[in-house]
Amino acid sequence: MYDPASALTGKTFVFEAMAENPAVVALSELATDAKFDRDELTITVARESIVAACEAVKAAGYNFFETVTAVDWFPQEPRFQLSYHILSHSLKQRIRLRVMLHSTAASVPSITSVWPAANFYEREVFDLFGIDFAGHPRLTRIMMPENWEGHPLRKDYPVEGYR
């Protein structure tokens, strides 16, 4: 059974315990928080530095973008959590980059310049959560019809939809 005590939390603890990890080395400056839980490394970065963080981990060998998605922590603030999953083919490792966003400023720079693969995923997050990706080539709805009102995966959107 899972033991919550096995998790490492806090930048200092994680970065000391995993000092040789290439992602830890690459993000020693940019990281604001970190977590190592259930064998998964999560590094939190500021909203402004996400593109720089992606470029840094890409240079460190994490070559493959897997997915980006959001979690809505409504009514808590910061409300939105963006989770970027990035894989390294050579290291056979995966990291999760995390960005926290306030509901008043739900916008983040697009990483399509680093990985074009993020294009559809960012459109999906924009469509279903209403988070803006600045610099995205074509930020339009992807799942819902163009004239849809609201963002279905937000927690204040009812499961049955508005009737």
Binding site: W115, A117, E146
Partner: protein, 426 residues
């Protein structure tokens, strides 16, 4: 009868298509180009994929996929269900490999719980997953060949697919929406005669694959339509998030089963087929070899299952983890033991709480990397379930593969990336 004009608004009408093309960033109205709407009801799009194509004569200038016709909000629905109630929803995501979806979701929740799964359940999961891979590849081969014009293939592939469907029906009672895996193990003990049926299927399968290859591999029409079409380089494939057989056909030697093993795959010996050509032909070759490798893995799984120690009463080992608060008790226990009855009642009515946290579990589905990102807030319902599906990412590479090629090649390319719209739209 008056002629039909654009003002009649046949959905999608001519004006809609041009408006769409402009919205998708295509010029659409150039001097030598025309805009063509393809789908959503088009036999070669394997579901409800719609594309807005800009053509110069028969040459594709640009291509924009328009998806969402099958969006059912599965991720939202998951948030309103108990953890164990999500399993049947995962079948519907990628309906050609239900077992792989079940596995990815169950592994993710098991990782959140820190649950150890008995060896027998792991081996059965691997066995069924590889049969699912064969089944999914058979659907791909049948439909892909049919798109190209080799209609006979469809019937042969469906013949063998029927055998796999019967195997699924035997274990789960369902042919397609199996929901056979459970958090903590499997739903039921396989029925009598199950292993004999699987053995017969595995023994005959290599000869059937030979038969398919005999019909296609040396066929000049097949080669003409496939070779050199829809090429994708390794760098392009990685940049666009392509995974699975299309990635390996572009020369990237990456398979999650071998490189980041799960569910006991590290114990199996198999080759990962790779090709450097990166065209539709390479994807065909890679998938055909993968079917043979799957048969090899299944044989190993059968041997390992046979070699497992049996209990004192001669019965095979357990198929569920020893976690009474998470796994439903069997019927016999439920009717004779008070504890078991209480656990059963609690699990069904209240579910089970999962420690807070987030995990991402990726498995190698027949189409590529299928990842489940599950976030728990410590309650009995998942706070967020996100599915990273291979077809969604691979679809982004469609324009790169089709640009500058003939319109007819678009059909071959769509067939070769083996998309399932259920997992794209979710």
């Amino acid at each position: 009868m008056a002629p039909i004009t654009a003002s009649d608004r046949i959905t999608p009408g001519v004006e809609d298509v041009i408006a769409d093309a402009k919205r998708h960033g295509n010029a659409g109205t150039g001097e030598h180009s025309m805009v063509l709407n393809m789908g959503p009801q088009h036999p070669s799009t394997h579901g409800v994929l719609r594309m807005v194509l800009e053509l110069d004569g028969e040459i594709v200038v640009s291509l924009a996929p328009d998806i969402g016709y099958l969006h059912t909000g599965i991720e939202k629905t998951c948030e309103a269900k108990f953890y164990q109630q999500v399993v049947p929803l995962t079948d519907r995501v990628d309906y050609l490999c239900p077992m792989t979806n079940n596995l990815a979701y169950c592994l993710a929740v098991e990782k959140l719980l820190g649950l150890e799964i008995p060896e027998r359940a792991q081996l059965l999961r691997v066995l069924l997953n590889e049969i699912t891979r064969i089944e999914s590849h058979l659907v791909w081969l049948g439909t892909h060949a049919m798109d190209i014009g080799a209609l006979t293939m469809f019937l042969y592939c469906w013949r063998e697919r029927e055998a796999t469907m019967r195997i699924f029906e035997a274990v789960s009672g369902q042919r397609m929406m199996t929901s056979y895996f459970r958090i903590g193990g499997l739903a039921l003990e396989p029925p009598m005669g199950f292993f004999e049926t699987v053995q017969t299927f595995l023994d005959t399968m290599p000869a059937h694959i030979d038969q398919y290859e005999g019909l296609l591999t040396g066929n000049p029409i097949w080669m003409g339509r496939l070779k050199g079409v829809g090429t994708l380089t390794a760098a392009q494939a990685i940049a666009l998030g392509v995974t699975g057989p299309p990635l390996r056909a572009s020369g990237v030697d990456w398979d999650l089963r071998r490189d980041m093993p799960y569910s006991g795959y590290e114990r199996f010996k198999f080759d990962v087929p790779v090709s450097n050509d990166g065209d539709v032909w390479a994807r065909y070759v890679v998938r055909m070899l993968e079917m043979r490798e799957s048969v090899k893995i299944c044989h190993q799984a059968m041997q390992m299952l046979e070699g497992l120690p049996r209990g004192a009463d001669g019965k095979p080992g357990p198929i569920v983890a020893d976690a009474p608060k998470i796994v439903l008790p069997n019927r016999e226990k439920m009717k004779t033991e008070m504890e078991a009855l209480i656990h059963h009642f609690k699990i069904v009515t209240e579910g089970f709480a999962v420690p807070a946290g987030e995990v991402y579990q990726a498995v190698e589905s027949p189409r590529g990397e299928m990842g489940y990102y599950v976030v728990s807030d410590g309650t009995a319902k998942p706070y967020r379930v996100h599915m990273r599906n291979p077809s969604f990412a691979t679809l982004q590479a469609l324009e790169t593969m089709c640009k500058g090629r003939l319109l007819a090649d678009v059909v071959a390319v769509i067939g070769s990336i083996d998309i399932v719209l259920g997992e794209i739209d979710r």
